[in-house]
Every structure is written in structure tokens, then in C-alpha cells.
């Protein structure tokens, strides 16, 4: 009798956990499926490669795609050297103490700063005080602060995962610390570092509140880093809130999601390939 109750409780609880897992998958399927079904008819060469025109932004979204990739690429260029070298310091050189604790606390804080705060910060510092105006470079600089802690953390983990004896081998051959780090440790950790950079780029592509206040909302094909532009996320926001051109909004949402998924899946693929190669 008592055993029955125990098993019944167990079965009921397990059912609840299965439900929680399934709900999560169903919700994801619903979000992706809804955007896919409504947006897939919109996307074609014309939608991707032509300019929007007219009051309702008919036509394509080419300038917003360029602006998104431009600002993300530039932010990656800015953040990669700084974040990787910062991680090298934390993993290879730093001695545990107040300074390292402060750096880690700052990185954690930076990672959790609400994106709107980062947007206003970019507006105050890069757009206004430094005089870059609404531009790709302002957006890239603000985004790089957002990406910094992500790349720092993944790089540090990657460096720490490189076995100690490989370093000893290098030192044993008479290599200096920098030679060991640059020729042995970083190449060994490279694919995991690249994975981290790609993941942070995926985050930057999907960011809205930062770029709306640093890159502006003008539909423009940016050429120079000082040109303004409208990212795909901002374009989607404007179309959705004004409710004027829903087909284009669905198309933009689908392309945006496809881009972010492509970033995430390629990072995942790289990590798996790397794991297989190491056996």
C-alpha cells in the first residue's frame, strides 16, 4: 500500500519533469516555426539584395543586412585582440589576488549590464563626447564592450584546458613564456577561442538596444565606418511597431534568426570537430 503511493508519486513527478522538458522544446518550435512559416515566402534574391523604398519600406532589406554584418565584423576585430590577450593574462600570468578579483568582478558586471544601459553609454561616450556621431564605429565600439566578457571567459577556459605538460615541453626546449604562449598554448586553444568569438558575434547580431542608440535608425548603405546605418534588428523593431509592412517584418525576422542560428551552429560544429580530432 505504502509502496504503491511511493511509486505513484514518483511516476507523477517524472511526468511533470517530462512535461517541463517538452514544453521547452515546443515553445522553441513554436517561435521558430511561426517565423519560418510566415517569413519563408518573403525571402528571395530580391528581398536580400535590393533596397527598401517607398513609405512602407517595400522591396528588399540589403542595407540593413550590410549594416548588421559591418558593425558585427568591426566589433569582432576590435574585441578579439583585447579579449584574447586579457584572457592570456588571467590564465597564464596573473597571481590570484585583489587585482584579479577586481577584473573578474568587472567582467561579470559587464556581462550582465542591461543592453539599454550599454546603448546609452555608447551614445554618451562614442556618439556625443568622442564625436563619432551615429555611425558603424560607434556601434562597434559599444558592442565590443558587450562581447568582451564573453570572449574573455571562453578564451580563458580554452587556455586552461590546454594540458600543463605541453607547456613544460616548451619550457624544457628553452622557450620563453611569450614563445610558449604564442606558439604552443594559443594554437592548441585556437578552435575553442574561435568558437567563443563566433558565439559572441551571434549575440551582437541579435542586439537591438545597443545599436539603435549608437548606429541610428537611418536606412543607409554604410561604406565608411563613420557612416550611420540601420541594423536588421532595428529594422524589424520599426516595422513591427509601426505595423505597416508585416510581410517584410516576417522576412527580416526569419533572416535574422537564420543568421544567429548559423553563427551558433557553426560554433557548435567547430567545437565538435575539434573534440573528435583530439580523440
Amino acid at each position: 500500500m505504502k509502496r504503491d503511493a511511493k511509486n505513484l508519486t514518483n511516476a507523477a513527478a517524472l511526468a511533470v519533469f517530462w512535461l517541463a522538458g517538452l514544453t521547452t522544446v515546443v515553445v522553441l518550435g513554436a517561435v521558430i516555426g511561426y517565423v519560418l512559416v510566415n517569413g519563408v515566402g518573403e525571402i528571395g534574391l530580391e528581398f536580400i539584395f535590393t533596397n527598401p523604398h517607398g513609405v512602407n519600406a517595400e522591396g528588399g532589406i540589403w542595407p540593413t543586412i550590410v549594416a548588421t554584418l559591418y558593425v558585427t565584423g568591426l566589433a569582432m576585430l576590435i574585441v578579439t585582440p583585447v579579449a584574447v590577450l586579457a584572457a592570456v593574462y588571467l590564465a597564464e600570468y596573473a597571481v590570484q589576488g585583489r587585482l584579479v578579483r577586481t577584473i573578474r568582478f568587472a567582467a561579470d558586471t559587464l556581462a550582465s549590464v542591461p543592453s539599454i544601459v550599454m546603448g546609452l553609454f555608447g551614445l554618451a561616450l562614442f556618439v556625443e563626447s568622442m564625436g563619432f556621431g551615429f555611425s558603424v564605429i560607434s556601434g562597434a565600439l559599444a558592442l565590443s564592450f558587450l562581447m568582451l566578457p564573453i570572449v574573455m571567459r571562453t578564451t580563458e577556459e580554452a587556455i586552461r584546458a590546454v594540458p600543463k605538460y605541453i607547456r613544460w615541453g616548451s619550457y624544457g626546449l628553452g622557450a620563453s613564456k611569450w614563445q610558449t604562449v604564442s606558439r604552443v598554448v594559443l594554437p592548441a586553444a585556437a578552435s575553442r577561442i574561435i568558437t567563443g568569438i563566433i558565439l559572441s558575434a551571434g549575440r551582437a547580431v541579435g542586439e537591438t538596444a545597443v545599436v539603435i542608440f549608437t548606429m541610428g535608425t537611418m536606412i543607409n548603405l554604410p561604406v565608411l565606418p563613420t557612416d550611420p546605418g540601420r541594423s536588421m534588428t532595428v529594422h524589424l523593431y520599426q516595422l513591427a511597431m509601426e505595423g505597416i509592412n508585416m510581410p517584410a517584418a516576417f522576412g527580416t525576422a526569419l533572416l535574422l534568426m537564420a543568421m544567429v542560428l548559423a553563427f551558433n551552429l557553426s560554433a557548435r560544429w567547430l567545437l565538435r570537430r575539434n573534440r573528435r580530432m583530439q580523440g
Partner: protein, 303 residues
């Protein structure tokens, strides 16, 4: 070994040429400089957002800014209480819906799911974290809002819609961190529990969840940080009326959404007030990070 040799640096032992030594030292300092960029970022955010927001504290006054019950920029009233309450209502509601689901999903992934199901569900949870917030907002606006409107009447803009969409958004954050916490519970503890005849449910409820308690609290706090700082998705569904909470179907506004709504046209004191809101948000998120760190120190000490 003589004392002189003990204190000798590699340079003094002539293991390195002078140029190598200088180069190594210079590189080390360069790396240190890069590492301090994170600190510089935090300081710069505080300085520049604070600098722009400062006039609101001096001109409107801290008490009337933090304690004012009316946000009417045209009338010169900049009380953030309605927005603060709005943020709190939206965040707590989202946590109440999202945290149990996320913890349930994490337990499912870590303890119950067969390997094949897990290899499918875990990537799905991680991808859910990657979907841009503006896409969630779009989904909320077009799918969830009409459903909510049927229940509450009106247009469906309001806390209930924001709760649902935010709950979806914080699930990946809380679930992955909870799964990490459960994964760090030693396997032997599970085996001991099963060996005494406990069912899976008893092991989870009486053994694993208590053992992973602090990790789960961390996860929920970080999920809370994500929810309170979320901007675009909330902005698109919450209705953006800077008034106190009046019901789950009535428009309200939050700290984040009000900034985006007002920024394009704000000027003068109104604009500085928006930077003041940003500083408040920054302090809240920093406080949550400090709380998580204090908890993890506590966990290390009690271990």
C-alpha cells in the same frame, strides 16, 4: 642553495638576454592592460552615464526622482516609482512562471531524459538562448498578445503578455546554469540515495535539489538580472504607460522600456532623467552580480 641564488631572477642568472627580458616584461604589462579593459569598461559606463544623468539628481532631487509617484515629463514630474514597480512586477511574474519551468527542464535534462532525447533537447535550450530579443518581442506582439487579449479584454498589452514572453526568454539562462549545478553534485550521492531504495523523485527532491541549492539560487538571480534588464521584448508588449500596476491586462511601463520610448524626443532635464534611469538599472544589475559572488563565496566556505 645559497640565499643569493634563491632571490636571483632569471635575468640575473643570465638565462635570458636583456632584450628578451625587456620584451617579456613589456608583453606582460600589455596583457595586464588588456585585462584591465573590463574594469575600464565598468568605470567608463558609470562615469559617462552618471555624468549625463547627474543633473536630474541635482535639479529634480534624489527624493523626488526615486520617490516621486508620477512620471509626466511634459509637466516636469520625474518620479520613477511607477517604472520601478513596473519593472518589479514584470520581473517577478516572469520568474514565477519561468523559474519552475526552467528548473524542471534542467532536472529533466540532467536526471531523467534518455541520452537520445537529451542530445536533442539540450541544443534546443541553448538555441532558445540565442534567439534575438526583438524576435521574441515580435512573436509576443503577434501571437501571445492576441491570446492574452481574449482572456483579459483590451488589446493585450500589459504585464501578463510580458510575463509570458519573458518567462520563455529566461528559461535557457536558468536551465543551463541549474543543469551545471546538478552536474556538479557527485555521482556517489545519487548512488547512495538509490541504494537505500529511494525513487528517482525522492532522490531529486530530498537529495539533489538541496545539494545544488545555492547553484540554483545563483541561476535564478542571473535569470532575474536578465529579466529586469530586458528591453526590446518587454517594450513591444507591455503597453508603455508610465502608471502604477492596475491589473494583469492593463498597460504599464518599465525602467528599460521607458528609456527607449522617450529617448528619441527627450531633451533637457527629461533626457538627463533617462540617463538617471540607466544608472539605476546599472546599479541593480551590479548588485545582483555582487549577490551571486557573495553566495558562491559562502558556498565555498561552508564546503
Amino acid at each position: 642553495m645559497t640565499p643569493a641564488e634563491e632571490t636571483a631572477t632569471p635575468r640575473e642568472l643570465k638565462l635570458m638576454s636583456r632584450s628578451t627580458y625587456v620584451k617579456e616584461a613589456a608583453l606582460k604589462n600589455l596583457f595586464l592592460l588588456c585585462a584591465t579593459m573590463a574594469v575600464a569598461g565598468v568605470v567608463l559606463i558609470f562615469l559617462f552615464v552618471g555624468w549625463r544623468g547627474w543633473p536630474v539628481f541635482s535639479e529634480v532631487g534624489l527624493a523626488r526622482f526615486l520617490g516621486g509617484a508620477e512620471w509626466l515629463p511634459t509637466a516636469g514630474a520625474f518620479g520613477i516609482l511607477p517604472l520601478l514597480v513596473g519593472s518589479l512586477v514584470v520581473t517577478l511574474g516572469a520568474l514565477a512562471l519561468g523559474a519552475p519551468l526552467a528548473i524542471g527542464a534542467a532536472v529533466f535534462l540532467s536526471e531523467i531524459a534518455p541520452p537520445r532525447v537529451r542530445s536533442f533537447v539540450r541544443p534546443a535550450v541553448e538555441l532558445l538562448a540565442g534567439v534575438p530579443s526583438v524576435v521574441y518581442g515580435f512573436f509576443g506582439l503577434l501571437v501571445i498578445r492576441p491570446l492574452v487579449a481574449d482572456v483579459t479584454g483590451g488589446l493585450g498589452f500589459g504585464p501578463l503578455t510580458a510575463w509570458l514572453i519573458l518567462a520563455i526568454m529566461i528559461v535557457p539562462t536558468i536551465a543551463t546554469l541549474t543543469e551545471d549545478a546538478l552536474g556538479s553534485v557527485p555521482e556517489g550521492i545519487r548512488e547512495a540515495s538509490y541504494a537505500m531504495g529511494a525513487t528517482t523523485w525522492q532522490t531529486i527532491w530530498r537529495v539533489l535539489l538541496p545539494a545544488a541549492k545555492i547553484g540554483i539560487i545563483d541561476a535564478v538571480i542571473l535569470g532575474m538580472g536578465r529579466a529586469i534588464g530586458e528591453t526590446m521584448a518587454v517594450l513591444m508588449v507591455v503597453g508603455n504607460a508610465p502608471v502604477f500596476f492596475r491589473g494583469i491586462g492593463k498597460p504599464i511601463s518599465t525602467l528599460t522600456s521607458q528609456i527607449v520610448m522617450d529617448m528619441p524626443y527627450a531633451s533637457g532635464v527629461h533626457r538627463t532623467a533617462l540617463f538617471g534611469l540607466a544608472i539605476i538599472l546599472f546599479l541593480i544589475s551590479m548588485g545582483l552580480v555582487a549577490l551571486v559572488r557573495a553566495l558562491s563565496r559562502f558556498r565555498e566556505e561552508t564546503r
